[in-house]
């Protein structure tokens, strides 16, 4: 996080949502419920790096990504993009300009593409939305370039097909081409491979690495799969109930985590054909949604090493080493690596 000139910088960002619970509860009983979907997070994304945001479902990953792209309103805090605060920015003109620089790729290749549009319509939609002055021939050229970059070759074979005529992997490539046609500097990719078979996802992952390495794009890669985060990113941020609980270089996933929650998550990873593994730390219960937050550490009720202080005092997010941040009073290694090579 020492980068002096990050492309994105989140400062104590909060995103709350009101939960609808019906007239009586809300207006008569004045019982308002708030989800702290994102709760005071700090994160820098450097130019030309991939940061993975990892966590269980409901931990706030998507909301964080949406907040950065101004698709969700922040309740508090500030978001800096390219050196400028974008918090609260809304005007149509601003939005058109912003979309040229920042784009999002969604999780579900089956739902994110309009079934009545051809691949050409889909891929060139961002051009239309940003009032590009490209003519039809130019649009076709750009579409072809984007599709070929996304690995759909020859692109002309795909241009006038409909989404239902494509496989899941091919649809995800169309989404990537759509995002890439604007050559954005920054991309939020929300679980872009979680619906794909292992045998086809590698090529999609390579595209992201290619976007970073060849085009210098910065990417926030959202995933629940820790091994994929390890594989493709420079840094990882692990979220729990709206908080980033640990941030560090991607290789902390292979045994270098210090937050008890991250250690539990990484300890249950099994690698195919690998005898080495960490001593499993199985947490009891399940993660609840961040509605009624406890006074102290929100992980305390499940934490294997919680102490009295944890129940009383909310830990602060702080540096614990170079390039390594943590939100815990007592960070320490609690498991160990079992080296039973044969």
């Amino acid at each position: 996080m020492a980068d002096k000139d990050p492309i994105v910088s989140l400062k104590d960002v909060e995103v709350n949502f009101n939960i609808r619970q019906g007239f009586i509860k809300e207006y008569i009983l004045r019982d308002k419920k708030i989800v702290h979907a994102v709760d005071k997070i700090n994160l820098d994304i450097a130019r030309g790096e991939i940061v993975s945001l990892v966590g269980e479902s409901g931990s706030g990953k998507t909301t964080t990504g949406r907040a950065i792209l101004r698709l969700a309103d922040t309740t508090a805090g500030d978001i800096i993009f390219n050196g400028e605060s974008i918090t609260g920015k809304k005007s149509k003109a601003w939005n058109r300009e912003f979309r040229k620089h920042a784009q999002m790729i969604f999780q579900d290749p089956y739902q994110s593409l309009n079934p009545r549009f051809t691949v050409f319509d889909i891929v060139t939609e961002p051009l239309t939305l940003t009032n590009s002055d490209a003519n039809l021939a130019e649009k076709e050229m750009l579409a072809i370039q984007a599709l070929e970059f996304a690995g759909l070759r020859p692109a002309v074979d795909y241009l006038y097909r409909y989404p239902h005529e494509l496989s899941g992997g091919q649809r995800q490539r169309v989404s990537i081409a759509t995002c890439f046609i604007m050559a954005p500097e920054f991309i939020v990719a929300d679980e872009p491979v979680s619906m794909l078979d292992a045998s086809v996802r590698a090529n999609i992952l390579k595209l992201f690495v290619g976007l970073k390495e060849e085009k210098g794009a910065s990417i926030l890669f959202i995933t629940h799969d820790l091994s994929l985060a390890w594989l493709i990113s420079d840094h990882v941020a692990i979220m729990y109930m709206g908080r980033i609980v640990e941030y560090g270089p991607a290789d902390i996933i292979a045994g270098g985590c210090l937050h008890p929650y991250s250690q539990a998550l990484t300890s249950v990873l099994a690698m195919v054909g690998e005898k080495r593994r960490m001593k499993r730390i199985i947490l009891e219960g399940e993660t609840s949604s961040p509605v009624n937050l406890p006074k102290g550490c929100r992980f305390a009720s499940r934490c294997p090493i919680a102490q009295q202080r944890c129940f009383e005092e909310d830990p602060e997010y702080r540096p614990i080493g170079e390039d390594h941040y943590i939100c815990c009073h007592f960070p320490q290694p609690i498991g160990q690596l079992n080296d039973e090579e044969d």
């Binding site: 269980e56 479902s57 496989s167 899941g168 078979d197 292992a198 045998s199 086809v200 996802r201 590698a202 090529n203 992952l205 390579k206 690495v209 629940h224 820790l226 091994s227 994929l228 390890w230 594989l231 290789d251 996933i253 292979a254 539990a264 998550l265 249950v268 990873l269 099994a270 690698m271 195919v272 054909g273 690998e274 080495r276 593994r277 499993r280 199985i282 947490l283 399940e286 993660t287």
Partner: protein
């Protein structure tokens, strides 16, 4: 009692569609011993669920078993009449269906849904069935106090536990789990894997586990069967198949998963797409995507599944010895 609980021999299950037939399962053979677990792994659409549904004879209307045998404790169930099938399903073999935890009836108590399943298969009183459900809740780690809960009052993990309880309700010898952990978060997945392993030992039960995630199989299964385009291409003890892999497809599949304990190298995709089961290719079904394919052999002649010793089977012209 013979060692074999289940033996599937050259099973072919087809679906009738307007344009013709989809050969979803096309010559599948494997076996499972008492109290063992086997994992069936393969890409989406390769025929895993269809194999499972054939095993408990619960195919959709347009599907039928074209040929082959499914021997359950030596008895062929492919031609069992519907009446006997009803006794067989649930009491002998039950299934945790793909996505079932999200298909619970939202307006009926979870416990009542399990009671109903019991009453459908056994002649017991409702009260006895409910008592059994309480015991099952306890067994799968749901607080018995939650016996009056509706599905939406359960977390995802608890719903999956309830589905497991339902599958165990009539004490089956074989439980089939179709992607039982796929939709769950990492930690809940680990809890369910522990529960399944624990139950298997407690109840001495056999299991057929279906998943596209190899790492889950290595955590839960004694044997592994790798399926590709309607066929088993490799089959054996999990450790042997994973560490002394023979089939080029298995090899590619294993290398599609990253390994955080090894140097960071990009995983590899398998080029091309799996073949269309409506019109499967001649020869080895993997030939168009296989880097070892031999022209004039692999694209013409189908490789048989051969035992390479130690109950390690492979179907490949190059790796399967000289046939």
């Amino acid at each position: 009692m013979s060692e074999r609980l289940l033996e599937v021999k050259d099973l072919r299950t087809y679906f009738k569609i307007t344009a013709g037939e989809v050969k979803a399962v096309d010559g599948v053979s494997f076996f499972l011993n008492h109290s063992e677990s086997i994992g069936l792994v393969g890409e989406s659409g390769c025929g895993k669920t269809t194999t499972a549904l054939s095993t408990i004879r619960l195919l959709p209307d347009n599907g039928y078993i074209h040929s082959g045998q499914i021997l359950f404790e030596g008895r062929d169930i492919t031609n069992l009449p519907e009446k006997e099938l009803r006794d067989f399903r649930w009491a002998q073999a039950s299934m945790i269906f793909q996505g079932a935890m999200n298909a619970l009836n939202p307006v009926q108590k979870v416990s009542d849904q399990i009671v109903e399943a019991i009453l459908l298969h056994e002649k017991v009183t409702k009260r006895d069935a409910l008592e059994r459900v309480k015991g099952l809740f306890d067994l799968v780690g749901i607080d018995v106090k939650r016996v009056n809960a509706y599905p939406h009052e359960f977390s995802g993990g608890m719903r999956q536990r309830a589905i497991i309880a339902m599958a165990l309700a009539c004490n089956p010898k074989l439980v089939i789990g179709d992607e039982p952990t796929t939709a769950l978060d990492v930690m809940v997945q680990a809890q369910i894997i522990d529960l399944i392993n624990d139950l298997r030992h407690k109840l001495n039960m056999s299991m057929l586990m279906i998943t596209h995630d190899l790492s889950i199989i290595t955590e839960t299964c004694d044997r592994i069967a790798v399926m590709y385009a309607g066929k088993i291409v490799e089959y054996g003890k999990t450790d042997v198949v994973v560490r002394k892999t023979l089939h080029p497809y298995t090899d590619k599949l294993i290398h599609a998963f990253p390994n955080i304990y090894q140097p960071r190298v990009m995983v590899e995709s398998i080029p091309g797409d799996p073949p269309d089961l409506f019109n499967p290719p001649a020869g080895c079904r993997f030939n168009a995507r296989c880097e070892h394919a031999v022209k004039g052999l692999c694209d013409c002649k189908e490789p048989p599944l051969v035992d390479m010793g130690g109950e390690h089977f492979v179907a490949c012209h190059l790796r399967g010895g000289n046939q």
